[in-house]
Amino acid sequence: MIVLAMDTSNQPLSLAVMKDGAVMGEKLINIKRNHSLQAMSAVEELLGSLDLKPGALDRIVVAKGPGSYTGVRIGVTLAKTMAWSLKIPIVGVSSLLSLAWPGKYFDGVVVPLMNARRGNVYTGLYEYQDGWQTLEEDRNMAMSEWLTHLAEREENVLFTGADVEVFWEEIQSVLGERAYHVSTEEAFPSAAVMAKHAEGLPDEDAHGFVPNYIRLAEAESNWLKEQEKKNG
């Protein structure tokens, strides 16, 4: 069983090829470069360096969001089109879970963060116990509100992801000594961890596979508000 896993949800590109649950090869690129330009070539290079042909793949795992709309779409489009072309299953994993891995042995809960601008974050609540468990679903909310919520849990919290830096002062002011953060060399997604996690997830249909944006497109939420005003 050979699995290709990929995450292009934010700036880093993370790829992994797994054979029967063990890592055959990984690739991480963490510079500002368009995924639309590099992701497909990076997959080709990684498979090539492992002497694998595309036909050798049995399953594709992809970070389905949240994250940069464009970034998530590139990964999902590549993954679903490859899966459909090769007639193999696709499985989506949260892009936030992909950032949670440094918290595997942490004594407490893990909170991956992505900056969603204007004081908002994409986030969720995770814990490792016989595999990654989702304690609270991925969401988009005001960081201040999220912190108030986390404060009520009275546990140690590890914040993961490259955007933690942006919010660190605010986090400390609310959670004080219960707050921990990953160091910079751990602040990237892990496609291998996604692939491992996906072993327990059901196959999905390539045609119906779409990103989990969490947020509506701005034009659409404005339009809905207007409809409500008209009807209400």
Partner: protein
């Protein structure tokens, strides 16, 4: 056989074309119903729909053509210009297919596609001139041979289709406005005096923003004076001005470059006023006028496959590092 993919704006399209001349299948999933509520194409919404539709549309194109990927020689995809977030979906889907099936990949210019839609109707005879009129483009393109494009004139501001949409909005017509103006124009008479932008002598360039402003001013002035303006007559006058400039410039270029064919291309080629005028103009001429059917004027993937076929035959190939290029030059 070439598989074509097009996602530059709000149509997710895939098509199989044989020998660059014969449509085997041509599938277009339009998003227009979704964008109507916003009064225009919203790029983020367009990208989301492309992701939803992409593999479904390609599968349908292969099924309708009754071929498998084994029988496809190469995959051609619109590389640009267009909405970057929309182009990206087609480009990455094409790359994934090219990689999975180990097929050659060919990036195609959207306008080259529009021009090559004509080859699905009539074999090209060089030199030829193409009048490209769409929502984003107004160009006169000279072709001396396959795959060679020389832009001899282009718009300096709004594209003709853009002017149509803006005028339609001013007249309170639903999106997309072009067809509504075309329809109204046929019911009215061109009695309102509107400018024609000929630009400097000998220029093949276009400009429609002055005309658009003149229409808006005419409406506002009438409103202020409490006068009733016949929307049909105003639409007819606007269309008359656009069509006159387009066709006169095309005619002059046809004569100067002594071409064998004039090809009409792009979404505005669906415009009845433009079609009728060109047909009358070239009825007795030695120059062959080719106007594709409506389904090939608006965005589709058969045109991308047709243009891609010529590039394939000329040995042009793209790598998996190809990116969507919203500002791609012809």
């Amino acid at each position: 056989m070439i598989l074509g993919i097009e996602t530059s704006c709000d149509e997710t399209a895939a098509s199989v074309v044989r020998n660059g001349t014969e449509i085997v299948s041509n599938v277009v999933a339009s998003q227009i119903e979704s964008h109507k509520r916003f009064g225009g194409v919203v790029p983020e919404i367009a990208s989301r729909h492309h992701v939803e539709q992409m593999t479904i549309v390609v599968e349908e194109a292969l099924e309708k053509a009754d071929v498998t990927m084994d029988e496809i020689d190469a995959i051609a995809v619109t590389e640009g210009p267009g909405l970057v977030g929309a182009l990206i979906i087609g480009v990455n889907a094409a790359k994934a297919m090219a990689f999975a099936h180990q097929k050659p990949l060919i990036g195609v210019h959207h306008i080259a596609g529009h021009i090559y839609a004509n080859r699905l109707i009539e074999e090209m005879k060089f030199p030829l001139l193409s009048l490209v009129v769409s929502g984003g483009h107004t160009e006169l393109v000279l072709m001396k041979e396959h795959g060679s494009f020389e832009v001899i004139g282009e718009t300096r501001d709004d594209a003709a289709g853009e002017a149509y949409d803006k005028v339609a909005r001013t007249l309170g017509l639903p999106y997309p406005g072009g067809p509504h103006i075309d329809r109204l124009a046929h019911e009215g008479t061109p009695s309102v005096k509107l400018p024609r932008a000929w630009l400097e002598e000998g220029s093949y360039d276009f400009s429609f923003s002055g005309l658009k402003s003149a229409v808006i001013n005419t409406l506002h002035n009438a409103e202020q004076r409490g006068e009733e303006i016949d929307v049909k007559d105003l639409a007819a006058s606007f269309q008359e001005s656009v069509v006159e400039v387009l066709t006169e410039k095309a005619k002059r270029a046809v004569e100067e470059y002594d071409v064998k064919q004039l090809l009409l291309a792009g979404g505005v080629a669906a415009n009845k006023g433009l079609r009728t005028r060109l047909t009358e103009m070239f009825e007795t001429s030695d120059v062959e006028l080719v106007i594709p059917p409506l389904s090939l004027c608006t965005d589709n993937a058969a045109m991308i496959a047709a243009a891609g076929t010529v590039m394939y035959e000329q040995g042009k190939r793209s790598t998996l590092a190809m990116n969507a290029n919203p500002g791609l030059m012809l």
